[in-house]
Symmetry: D2
């Protein structure tokens, strides 16, 4: 069941036929975000979705801090992973993460506004590779992430 | 500032001197978990910490589901990352994640009880490598995670 | 074109029908190694192939040293990657590496005899995950490797 | 023992004092390549070394093919790993690979001329992160590699 089909049926095929690829990517992203309770619960905002690209933002809250008083690595990863998910699903074909790696470069602290930007590096058949950078808004690199996507059968 | 120092000062050096390494690891884990608001907010429970080992548990909640209706990969990662953090800090020396990779093997669904078990593979000087498996309680492998730790200077 | 088909035609279908799965895995490995000029040129020996398992050996030669006088990481990786390839092709279905990660734990030096042992961690449909440890014969861990396999279409 | 010291003593401190950072990086690279028997044996050529950057080239030979008739993944990795090594040692401080990951995007074949280009993404204290792309000369992406470097103590 592709996301595209849900979107198509909800919005009507006739309107879809008139969309540009970028309008379609934005519509797929919006529909997917509306169902993504985890990204919402973490306070993420979806800023932009294009074909093979997505940008999300999240502010580090007190309940996101680990035992060392910095943002839990899992939540930095979650932001990057959401950006990856929106980028790799942007063509409206249901796509999941097969594997990911992340390098943590600087700690994030309470109140930091983090931006994750995902870009498609490769897409061949049912698998793709996406790079995501997580930066402090307007500033330095907090983490760099790489994800491999797969279209399940 | 090492976790050990905080624990030592809170509990008194004389009592520490009488602990076995495993009692010390458990005490470090308990003190670290008490400050770890993120792991608590995600409903994790700390089941066991030994030297170089930790096991945590988390139940997938409705607010952990992504746009595909399965557990957000970032939250599966967060559980593994917490187990990694408790294992690599179990000697009481402040240690952080340098980089991690995860392979997603099966989706987790609402209500699934996930267990993450972290084991030390290598520890040399200030860096270590830890393997973490995330399984559905009593069952199949959901994800396998590898983390590289570093002691910051 | 699966390796199995080549093997089958070379050896005759009637004999294959009488093989155990382990005999079939060994036969696939031997046929694949005979065509693997790179593993041969690096002096690797194929010690054992079972279903989802392979073990290879390689001695570090002077022409394998890097500018620091230790075994080039790419050649430690190559040994692990060959073990991975023999393990993931052991069922006779043509399978390739999609992505791999390696952690270097100790340098290898000229004359060191390295053993790589690959084990299947997960196999679902067309993708698998394999762990490979590279050790100095009878001794310590030199590197740990994880590979993701895919059956091309 | 830093590479820089060797180079400095060989070439004389007075001449070094007059080098630009880029001349120094090129000199370190040339000295390191001269000792790198593995990269030489694989037919690599060092095209350029700048601070935090290196580019190498390698032609796929018949003795680099695996059992599937394509370039052995370990040798694609070796080219990327050499580029990484020259980039992370370009400041003349002895630096080694801690861990690496590679995504294989397209097979390379006999006669293909491969180019690996390494770029520094982050350098903090004793650890760095480098991205390396391997392309067919003038063409498509064959693999993308990420390496984490460390300065041993």
């Amino acid at each position: 069941m592709a996301v595209e089909h849900k979107v198509a049926s909800r919005r009507g095929l006739s309107s879809r036929a008139m969309e540009t690829p970028e309008e379609a990517a934005a519509a797929v992203g919006a529909a997917m975000f509306a169902r993504d309770r985890a990204s919402q619960a973490l306070g993420m905002t979806l800023e932009e979705v294009l074909r093979g690209y997505a940008r999300l933002r999240m502010t580090v809250r007190a309940d996101m801090l680990n035992g060392h008083g910095t943002c839990h690595g899992g939540l930095v990863f979650a932001l990057a992973d959401s950006a990856f998910a929106f980028a790799c699903n942007s063509r409206g074909v249901l796509t999941v993460a097969a594997g990911c790696s992340i390098e943590f470069l600087a700690p994030a602290r309470e109140g930091d506004e983090l931006v994750a930007e995902a870009r498609e590096r490769s897409l061949q058949g049912r698998t793709g590779v996406y790079d995501v950078d997580v930066t402090r808004a307007g500033g330095d690199l907090v983490a760099t992430f790489r994800g491999r996507s797969a279209v399940p059968r």
